[in-house]
Symmetry: C2
Subunit: 145 residues, 2 copies
């Protein structure tokens, strides 16, 4: 089972913003801190904007901010939004795919229930629970056992 890297990056952006909810942070800064492509990140940020998770302001003090308090944004909500273009298997595509079993399939509702169980589990946590402080990497860390 895979999530798109697009979704993974979207979650990272929200985690970073949740770590400093009163600051505006540029996409470029997040890209640099997280060592990921700014070009790729810009697309993710546009989608987060469409989903109502972030807003961006231009100007000297501009940048990206969460549109809502991080403790009100569940991980499930974010993953549902960012993954909506992806079908779990082909019959979940908008065009229905070409599986010949479709008319009488007893698997599809079970996969749908499993997907919902996945999202429901993610609904138990919010972006605030996963907040990533901007200076986390500069702090002394306990070495992993």
């Amino acid at each position: 089972m895979r999530l798109a890297s697009f979704t993974d990056y979207g979650l990272r952006v929200l985690m970073r913003l949740a770590g400093a909810p009163d600051e505006s942070i540029s996409t470029g800064q997040i890209a640099e801190e997280f060592e990921i492509s700014q070009h790729h990140l810009a697309k993710v940020v546009r989608e987060l904007g469409r989903g109502g998770f972030v807003s961006s302001q231009r100007g000297r003090r501009g940048g990206l901010k969460l549109s809502r308090p991080p403790q009100t944004i569940t991980l499930g909500e974010v993953v549902r939004h960012l993954e909506q273009r992806f079908a779990i298997v082909e019959c979940f595509r908008e065009d229905g795919g070409s599986c010949v079993l479709k008319p009488l399939c007893r698997l599809k509702p079970r996969l749908a229930a499993a997907r919902e169980a996945f999202m429901s589990e993610l609904d138990r946590s919010t972006v605030a629970d996963c907040a990533w402080p901007g200076d986390a990497l500069d702090r002394p860390q306990v070495a992993p056992g």
Copy 2:
């Protein structure tokens, strides 16, 4: 969230075999019935064999059979086996990926719990629950409302 088409095809094979558990059916026949590539299906069948789900016998009456009663094979078990090579996001890869948040990430355990919720939901059903009778497509069907 996506499952590999490899996994999707593996499930279809088991559904077909579960529909006629006393028969041996060739990979070629399943490929033809389901209108999918025999070449692709052969790889899936090998992996199902490695997982102990099917066995194949050569010869005139040879073909593919379930190795265990279909009511003892859960969907979760099959999906876990066929998806084991796929990481939900990059830090789940064997090499750990290159995400800089890894040492202090609070998202990873939540994704792991969600994946487990997905698999647990699939553990509630067996291949027998999704059995696909070989002649299902020939029977008169009620048109979808």
